[in-house]
């Protein structure tokens, strides 16, 4: 569908800003440790936590890599991994 254009900055549909591109580190969840308690989901400031089959983890299109989830996880199931330069 063609995006509706306005003369001025208003929006009737999401315009995706890929905030994940700003990330320096990404959170990686260990499915063996994750018990899906959703503490990370509760704390994530950008609502980027998704429910995967084996664990809860970040949607990397939006996750800015702030590390709050890793800090708050009571099971220490999340580690922050440096993003490699392309």
């Amino acid at each position: 569908m063609e995006r509706r254009r306005f003369l001025c900055p208003v929006a009737t549909e999401p315009y995706i800003v890929a905030t994940g591109e700003w990330r320096a580190q990404r959170p990686v969840t260990d499915p063996k440790k994750c018990v899906k308690c959703a503490t990370c989901w509760l704390y994530c400031p950008t609502q980027s936590i998704r429910h995967y089959h084996t664990h809860l983890g970040a949607d990397l299109q939006y996750c800015k890599g702030c590390g709050i989830c890793a800090n708050e996880c009571p099971r220490h199931a999340i580690t922050m991994v440096l993003e490699e330069e392309d």
Binding site: L7, C8, P9, V10, A11, Y15, V17
Partner: protein, 386 residues
């Protein structure tokens, strides 16, 4: 009818039939809001008056009203305009054709409530159209024209009508009040088409805008300013055909046909300037005056055309341009007249409520004439200091 400038502005608003007015009611506000409040309570204006707690809120309230399709009005001055800076910029980016008068004052500091143009000229790059007027009749007429200009589908921009604090805002002179029927014919109701709040179509207003999209909005905004030049001139002509008064649109040329030197001024000093031109003409000096009405958009083409034949120009600046050592008009005019190698002199005066007198204009004419004849001149002269 004999009215001061604030009352002329209030009457201009009444005739334009806004359905909402939001304004901060006390200092730094002028008595404008008292007049509007009275007109609403007397039933002369059918509008909601929102007496907000700050100028920041005044303009923000009107954003909502204008986005929902309403014609709205407000006014401010000096410190109030400074407090409004954030929503001021948003009004222009959202392309809301709000009309706001500014009773121009010289500033926030040194603490001053008297006349000067520094407050309004300080926000000249905020994206609005800015019209500066010479007398109280022009205040009223320009407000009616401002809605036509701002609401034009080619333009869709907010418009400031700027009138000099105290010299116009608090001084009385006779004006003609146009018939409401004629104003209604000239200015039909506002129909917003480019953006409209609608509960059926939820809308995010001014969300985070990434670079490329941001650049597109800016490009469109600048294009609108360019298109506004022709609209301002055309609306002035249409206004004249109905009401019999013309202000020249972007600029007014006064005795410029055979002028050998020219003064360039803006706002209330133009009145004194025109009389000074008449007096100099009686002595045989071929001088004219160009009154800049539109600071934004800046009338580059028409100024170049008016000034292409003169031998020297004297600019009267009721403001200063920090970092240039001159006034703002001098800098702007210099950009407009690139390639024209004639003497351009700047005269700074009328700051903080001080007068620009006939003597000052006589001096400006004399120095400009000397520059034309001898070529040597000092670039900047401060009235009252030099």
């Amino acid at each position: 009818m004999v009215v001061d400038g604030n009352k002329a502005a209030a009457l201009g608003a009444v005739l334009s039939r806004p359905i909402m007015v939001a304004a901060y009611p006390i200092t730094p506000q002028t008595p404008l809001v008292e007049y509007l409040s009275q007109y609403i309570s007397d039933g002369l204006l059918d509008a909601d008056l929102v007496e907000v707690e700050s100028e920041h809120s005044a303009l923000s309230v009107l954003h909502g009203a204008c986005l929902s399709g309403a014609r709205v009005f407000t006014g401010t001055s000096g410190q109030g305009l400074a407090f409004m800076y954030e929503p001021y910029i948003r009004t222009a980016s959202l392309r809301l054709p709000i009309v706001m008068v500014i009773a121009t004052r010289d500033g926030i500091s040194p603490q001053c409530v008297w006349g000067g143009q520094q407050d309004a000229m300080g926000v000249r790059d905020g994206g609005w159209i800015q019209i500066y007027v010479e007398d109280n009749q022009e205040i009223l007429d320009s407000i009616i024209m401002a809605y036509r200009i701002g609401e034009d589908p080619e333009v869709l921009l907010p418009v400031n009508v700027c009138y000099d604090g105290f010299y116009l805002s608090h001084m009385s002179e006779a004006i003609r009040i146009p018939d409401q029927e004629l104003v209604d014919r000239f200015l039909p109701p506002y129909r917003s088409t480019h953006v409209r709040l609608d509960p059926e179509i939820p809308m995010a207003v001014d969300p985070l805008t990434p670079g490329l999209l941001f650049t597109q909005y800016r490009h469109g905004h600048l294009e609108a300013h360019e298109k506004a030049k022709a609209v301002i001139d055309r609306v002035d002509g249409e206004f004249e055909s109905i009401f019999g008064r013309s202000y020249g649109g972007l600029i007014e040329n006064y005795r410029m046909e055979d002028a050998e030197i020219a003064l360039v001024a803006m706002g209330s000093p133009c009145g004194t300037g025109k009389v000074s031109v008449d007096r100099a003409r009686e002595k045989g000096i071929k001088v004219g005056l160009v009154k800049i009405r539109s600071l934004r958009p800046f009338p580059v083409e028409r100024l170049s055309d008016s000034l292409k034949k003169v031998k020297a120009i004297g600019v009267i600046d009721k403001n200063v341009c920090f970092g240039w050592g001159t006034g703002i008009l001098f800098v702007e005019l210099g950009s407009a007249l690139r390639g024209l190698s004639i003497p351009v002199l700047d005269f700074i005066g009328g700051l903080g409520g001080s007068d620009i007198t006939f003597d000052h204009f006589d001096l400006a004419i004399h120095k400009t004439l000397m520059a034309a004849e001898k070529g040597a001149f000092e670039r900047v002269h401060w009235f009252g200091i030099d």
